[in-house]
């Protein structure tokens, strides 16, 4: 299979994730969409790595996965903390940062 298929799939996944972040309000779903975008990036990295023929892209993909795991830990921790304080689990309601 040529590289285009992989790149197109990666782009679709990335766009899906981005769209999810922009239109969903639940923090859990937003976190999921974020993971989707990261994995879209990973897919592109691995595909290009195969095409070029060396392993550097794959190493990058591994690093991205570790970072994604960290991010999930922090994100889920935040969500649990919000839930514990009985705040609404809705991104639009949580707007204390308004200037």
């Amino acid at each position: 299979m040529s590289i285009e298929w992989y790149v197109v799939l990666s782009a679709l996944l990335f766009a899906t994730g981005a769209m999810g972040i922009l239109i969903r309000r639940s923090p859990v779903v937003i976190l999921l969409c974020l993971e989707l975008m990261l994995n879209a990036g990973n897919l592109a990295l691995v595909a290009f790595s195969r095409m070029v023929g060396n392993q550097q892209g794959q190493v990058f993909a591994l690093v991205v996965m570790v970072i994604a795991a960290c991010e999930v830990v922090v994100g889920l921790g935040l969500i649990v903390a919000i839930f514990r304080r009985r705040l609404p689990l809705d991104i639009d309601e949580l707007r204390e940062l308004r200037g």
Binding site: A18, I21, L22, I23, I91, D92, R95, L97, G99
Partner: protein, 669 residues
């Protein structure tokens, strides 16, 4: 010990005394504080004598020493040491200052006995002596300025000593402000000296000055005029004299020590110390001499009509300092310093006697209300008479020899300087009149109520004191003379101090009699040997003729005063009515206060008001408000973006990255 060690010790002792008394004010009993303060100054006097004996043990030309403890400030081309300069002139001042200060401390022990601020008083007084010694011993212009500013502060603190008295605090501020004007002159002079000569050190400056400057070059004239600004402010010469009469609000020992005997003569010392510069700038020296002459005449005329006992003596002080300024400016250095010494004796004594009488009057200072103290207070009146005779230059008293020596020198210099002799004798005539006016008003006659009470009961009137200027009741709790007043007749320490000074006032002049002995002149002459003017000496016969004229004038003045105030007591009032315009002019002190108010104070206030109303309100406030509004507005715009919608942040982020990617795509193809 060497002379410089003695001098350092003399400098250290008053400082230690001041610190000990100040820190121990809760612990030390009042008597002990007074003893410590007096002992510190007394020991400083002993050190001064030690320094003198050391100097006398050396050859006349080797009697100058510089010594420094450490470097005060050092930088490229700048080397200021914490150093003193010990020579005949500074040791002479050291002796006069510590000697008179010791006696005045002794007097204060009795006079301030019942004052609540006893410790504070002695701490300030010791600090003053330290500052004054720093001023006279300083080995460079920087330390001179330090001492100069310190005595200014001590003067301020002691004038405002009774700080609940509004007139006293105002007088303190006035003295401080006018003295700061002088300080500025002195500092600028030091800057100019450093720029031209490259050193602040006395030795270097005076050695190099004749090579750096040509006679009457504008820089040396400017330096001398700036030095004179400092000297005039400190020594109360026209037109910077208005603070001195007001300074009489302070306790009488302060008037005696600072505003008669020592601090106000600092200007004379300064001119004598920098005489080499004045030799190079004869124009400035002449200006100084004429200002001194004007001061001595103006002050003498004002003293003729003052009804306030202490203020009249204060004007007399100005007048006598005028003589000294004339002396050291025209070249009669030794005579000027001699007059400084005798004046310290008799003027300190006069103030002490006045303080005793004022205490007996429960702080009333108006001589119109005094009379008959001759019988009521024998000791005080005898000492006052001694001081008065010396001030009026009665033959063979100390003032007689010192004043005439200045005038004889002026005559010997000849030419234009004869004016100083003629007008100086006129001033001496006025001096004799105003001195004996005070004495004849206060001592003889029918005793006033307070004097009668003193004769009858031996008790001092203790009416609730009121401030004569404002009429407000005095606050005796925080110090105002205290619940009780002390007169010399009841206080041994006051009597001792006054007796010693009375002796010195009468006979202190005998150490320098023309043609007989010339102790002071012989001692000081090497300091002034580098001035061509020092070579001029009035011949002994002319000096004695001068003394004869002086004696006649003094006796004539005393006679006029006797005629006016004893034989025909109605005459002064009639004279005052006849010459009411002149009297008003003199009584308002030649309107100097009003003139300064008009020329300096009001324009300054107007500028200040303009700055506040226009500059501050529109320009400064406008700039500040404009900046504030601009930043606030910009912030308001940026705030809109900070909505708190996390998803809108995400959109912005994505759009930004998309835009960036698009840009790179387009630019790379």
């Amino acid at each position: 010990m060497s002379a410089v060690s003695w001098a350092w010790l003399a400098l250290l002792l008053p400082l230690l005394g001041s610190i000990v008394v100040a820190l121990g004010f809760r612990v030390l009993p009042a008597r002990v504080a007074g003893t410590i303060g007096t002992a510190a100054i007394g020991l400083a006097f002993v050190c001064a004598v030690g320094a003198l004996l050391n100097l006398l043990g050396e050859g006349a030309d080797a009697r100058h020493h510089a010594s420094s403890l450490w470097t005060y400030a050092g930088a490229a081309g700048l080397d200021i040491k914490l150093g003193i300069y010990v020579d005949q002139l500074s040791v002479f001042m050291l002796l006069v200052v510590t000697g008179v200060s010791t006696l005045i401390h002794l007097y204060s022990v009795g006079y301030m006995r019942s004052d609540e601020g006893y410790h504070r008083f002695f701490s300030y007084l010791n600090f003053f002596v330290f500052s004054m010694l720093l001023l006279v011993l300083a080995g460079n212009f920087v330390l001179l300025i330090v001492g100069w500013a310190f005595v200014g502060f001590a003067s301020y603190a002691l004038i405002s000593f009774w700080y609940r008295r509004t007139t006293a605090t105002r007088a303190g501020m006035k003295a401080f402000v006018i003295n700061v004007v002088g300080d500025i002159g002195l500092v600028l002079a030091a800057f100019l000296i450093f720029r031209e000569i490259g050193s602040f050190d006395y030795g270097t400056v005076f050695a190099r000055a004749p090579h750096v400057f040509t006679t009457n070059e504008w820089t040396v004239t400017a330096i001398c005029l700036l030095l004179l600004l400092g000297a005039f402010a400190k020594s109360a010469q026209l037109p910077l004299h208005t603070w001195l009469p007001d300074a009489m609000e302070g306790p009488t020992p302060v008037s005696s020590l600072i505003h008669a005997a020592t601090m106000v003569t600092a200007g004379v010392y300064l001119i004598a110390r920098t005489h080499i510069l004045f030799v190079l700038a004869p124009t400035a020296a002449d200006i100084a001499a004429f200002v001194g002459l004007a001061t001595l005449l103006v002050a003498a005329t004002i003293a003729l009509v003052m009804t306030d006992l202490k203020r009249a003596i204060a004007y007399s002080t100005m007048s006598q300092i005028g003589y000294m300024v004339v002396g050291v400016s025209i070249g009669a250095y030794g005579a000027g310093m001699f007059h400084l010494m005798t004046h310290a004796f008799f003027k300190a004594l006069l103030f002490m006697a006045a303080g005793s009488i004022i205490a007996a009057m429960a702080n009333e200072q108006n001589i119109d209300k005094m009379s008959g103290f001759g019988r009521a207070m024998r000791f005080t009146s005898v000492t006052m008479l001694c001081g008065g005779l010396a001030l009026a230059a009665f033959p063979l008293t100390s003032g007689f020899f010192s004043k005439d020596e200045i005038l004889a020198y002026a005559g010997a210099r000849g030419g234009m300087y004869l004016i100083f002799t003629v007008l100086g004798y006129l001033g001496a005539f006025l001096t004799a009149i105003y001195t004996f006016r005070l004495i004849f008003r206060v001592l003889p006659g029918r005793p006033c109520r307070e004097a009668q009470e003193l004769i009858d009961t031996g008790h001092v009137a203790h009416a609730a004191p009121r401030n004569p200027a404002t009429g407000e009741q005095e606050d005796t709790d925080v110090g105002f003379p205290g619940a009780e007043h002390h007169i010399a007749e009841h206080s041994a320490s006051m009597r001792v101090a006054m007796a010693v000074l009375a002796f010195l006032a009468l006979f202190g002049g005998l150490i320098q009699v023309p043609g007989v002995d010339n102790v002071i002149a012989n001692f000081l002459d090497p300091v002034f040997a580098d001035s061509p003017l020092a070579a001029i000496h009035p011949s002994t016969s002319w000096s004695w003729i001068g003394l004869g004229i002086g004696a006649a004038i003094s006796l004539a003045g005393i006679g006029v005063a006797y005629l006016l105030y004893v034989l025909r007591p109605d005459a002064p009032a009639a004279l005052q009515r006849r010459l009411s315009a002149v009297h008003a002019f003199l009584f308002n002190k030649w309107y100097f206060d009003e003139a300064i108010d008009l020329v300096v104070v009001r324009p300054a206030l107007a500028i200040g008001r303009f700055a506040n109303d226009v500059f501050e309100r529109f320009v400064v406030d406008g700039l500040v408000a404009g900046t504030r509004d601009a930043i606030g507005g910009a912030g308001g715009i940026v705030r809109i973006v900070q909505s708190g919608f996390v998803r809108s942040y995400a959109l912005l982020l994505l759009a930004g990255f998309a835009g960036l990617a698009l840009y790179f795509l387009l630019s790379s193809s």
